[in-house]
Amino acid sequence: MPEEVEKSKDSPEQAEFRQYCRKWIAENKPPKPSFRLPQSPLEVMTDEQRVYLQAWQKKCYDAGLVGCDYPKDYGGGGKKGFQRIANQELAHAQVPFFINVIGLGMGAPTILHHGSEENKRRYIKGILSGEEIWCQGFSEPGAGSDLAGARTFAEKKGDVWIINGHKVWTSLAHFASWMILLARHSNDDKYEGLTYFIVPIKSALGKGVTVRPLIKITGETGFNEVIFENLEVPDTLRLDEVGKGWTVAMTTLLHERGAAPLVTPSAGGAGGDSVGRSTDDLVALAKSSLRDGKPASEDSYIQDKIVQIAIWEEGLRQNMRRARVPSLCDNPMRIPLQGKLVGTEFLQALSHLGLEIEGPKSSLYLGDDNAPQGGQWPLAHMNSYGGTIAAGTSEIQRNILGERVLGMAKSK
């Protein structure tokens, strides 16, 4: 969306904040590091990446660009409607992303809605500033799409819970201080047998917590298995009541899917060494690629495919816009609940078209001197499956839409 549109409805105070953000970012945008930045926070592998990104988030937090909408008491800015402005300005400026993506998108809103006053005061600030990195313990080897099938067990002993179990797909666990954990306290009921906790990771390593990196099909690490063996967690770290784990998890997922009112602080995610995220990237690639001896951008087949992506991209952009105009939305959840599904499938199609444009050059990977744009396209394509699988596969998303929005019978 053009910047002018975004500005058009700012209040005077918001307009002033926007000016402030713009100026601050221009003066503080960090230099490109000497090492490769991954395509998203979920692939942060090395300490040098972490240190660089954590410092950047902290700097933004200190400048008031992170957590604007959160109450001041919990370390936020206390100004509703300001985070969106900061996000827009950060995204325009193509700065690096915020590393603490799980904490910002899931941990903080979940704690805000379900945590005790003590927990809110203790944890939210560290999430916003990025000083404490968070991870999420939902998926298990036997419970992927079927989240409520979680078997990690929390047994109450006096004032503490003893946690035993095995979580997978836990991005950032190798750097995390804390985890939001969905666990089972009872086998009597699938849903009401679940309870939700904050659990320590870093401080408990070797003392009931083991973090083991999983390797993605791209060869990158960044997500992990986490194994709990008799980890003791005080009852004060429980979120909401015993047996309310599924309700709390729904809050987490609603925020993850961008379908909740609270705006997640975000730097736009475009500041890594990433390509394969927009039509413009495709056009640039097509111009520099040959197909039958001509620039691929002059090939009618490639043109048509790029235009298809362009229409899709514009459709998603206009969906975002329309979702905020209630009179043009029959069902308020219809567009927001599509976001994760359509956004991830869009990136998959887009990155695959990148491979088609590259042709045989799509074989060339990171580190190859002749790889177009450093081999980022096959990387983006492979990583796109993380998008269509994690946090509710595309198949599950279609169930959700068919059931919650269109009201058809549950498929399971």
Partner: protein, 375 residues
């Protein structure tokens, strides 16, 4: 020029849509529609140009014909987003009416900038239905391809694929003189005008070849200016058609979803089965993007005209595909009953197919978009 965040869709536009919905729910609900258009199933039937002329008068009373007419020409000068919303309701009801054709004629007339065009807009404001007669026998909407020739103020030749030809009072005709194309107004009952109805698949429209034999015509745009007026009107035409398709697609989606909730097979409502559920979700996704693109295009016409053609073509491409897919799945997922004449689905299926190809289907729009996007 920047677009407003809310597409400029304000209270006035909401009222127009709400009143259209109320009107159409009452007068063109699917029972009345079926009774009106689906009486004669024979495949070789003649096209009846079925419509309810009394409803036309009501549309005029509701002010629909004035909506797109500029205030300077005595109309209401409403935004395109209002027209789009109205067209969406029309599509959702598959309303058999020359109102869309009349809008198209309005869009062209308001680009002509002549007194004759202003007078013609006055006729529309007063309630005269009109349609464009600008397509040649090959189905080309390119102004220069017209099969009609002008000699002075006399027209000869044939316009093809003329929509609602038998329902209108006037034709807006494109005609060549030498290498120039002008636009002309011709009364439907004018001397030398003969209308040969096409036998078409769509039950909610009529279509014809209109032959002009030395017909007296009023020049609307001077020779050489006709093509320009048509291209300036094109984004509005495409956006309105796209809105109609989005409405028709939404009908197909909702009707099929309802059926999937009540039809049981193997002990479950068929919506239980992902082979039913997921295609309907895909249809919804396609419709939502198309709808968002429609309002974006309409808003661009209102506020950002330099982007209007691009956005309108995107909207028509997306809406054509969404309507085609939603209608296709509506027939398929209704199963046996969906293949019968007694089920309403085919009425929308056929209307959506017709609209899909008017002024170019998705691949044709994409072809035109390519140089705007792959630059």
């Amino acid at each position: 020029m920047a677009q407003p965040k809310d597409f400029g869709f304000g209270s006035e536009e909401q009222m127009i849509r709400a009143s259209a919905k109320k009107f159409l729910d009452e007068h063109c609900n699917v029972e009345k529609l079926r009774a009106l258009v689906a009486g004669d199933p024979r495949p070789e039937r003649e096209n009846k140009a079925a419509w309810d002329e009394t409803l036309w008068n009501k549309c005029v009373e509701l002010g629909w014909t004035q909506l797109a007419v500029p205030e300077a020409a005595g109309g209401a000068g409403m935004k395109m987003v209002a027209i789009a919303a109205l067209a969406e309701e029309i599509g959702r009801h598959a309303f058999p009416s020359p109102i869309l054709s009349t809008f198209f004629a309005t869009f062209v007339l308001r680009e002509c900038g002549t007194d004759a065009a202003k007078a013609a807009l006055g006729k529309i404001t007063e309630g005269a239905p009109m349609t464009l007669a600008i397509t040649n026998a090959g189905g080309s909407w390119n102004a220069l391809d017209t099969d009609v020739e002008a000699k002075g103020d006399k027209l000869s030749g044939t316009a093809s694929f003329v929509q609602d030809a038998r329902k209108v009072k006037f034709f807006v005709v494109s005609a060549r003189s030498g290498k120039d194309v002008g636009l002309y107004l011709v009364p439907a009952d004018g001397k030398g005008v003969s209308i040969k109805a096409d036998r078409i698949v769509d039950l909610t429209r009529d279509q014809a070849r209109v032959e002009f034999k030395d017909v007296a015509a009023t020049a609307l745009a001077p020779a050489g200016q006709g093509g320009k007026a048509l291209s300036k009107a094109l984004p509005s035409i495409l956006t309105t058609l796209a809105a109609d398709l989005v409405g028709g697609a939404e009908w197909a989606l909702q009707t099929t979803v309802q059926y999937a909730k009540v039809r049981e097979q193997f002990g479950h409502p068929i919506g239980f089965f992902q082979a039913v559920k997921h295609p309907l979700v895909n249809a919804m996704i396609a419709i939502d993007q198309a709808k968002s693109l429609v309002y974006n295009a309409a808003c661009a016409i209102d506020t950002e005209p330099e982007e209007a053609e691009k956005f309108a073509r995107m909207a028509k491409a997306a809406a054509s595909d969404a309507a085609s897919f939603a209608s296709d799945r509506a027939v398929q997922l209704h199963g046996g009953i969906g293949f019968t004449w007694e089920c309403d689905v085919h009425i929308f299926f056929k209307r959506n197919k017709h609209g899909q190809f008017l002024f170019g289907d998705a691949p044709q729009q994409r072809r035109k978009l390519a140089p705007m996007i792959v630059r």
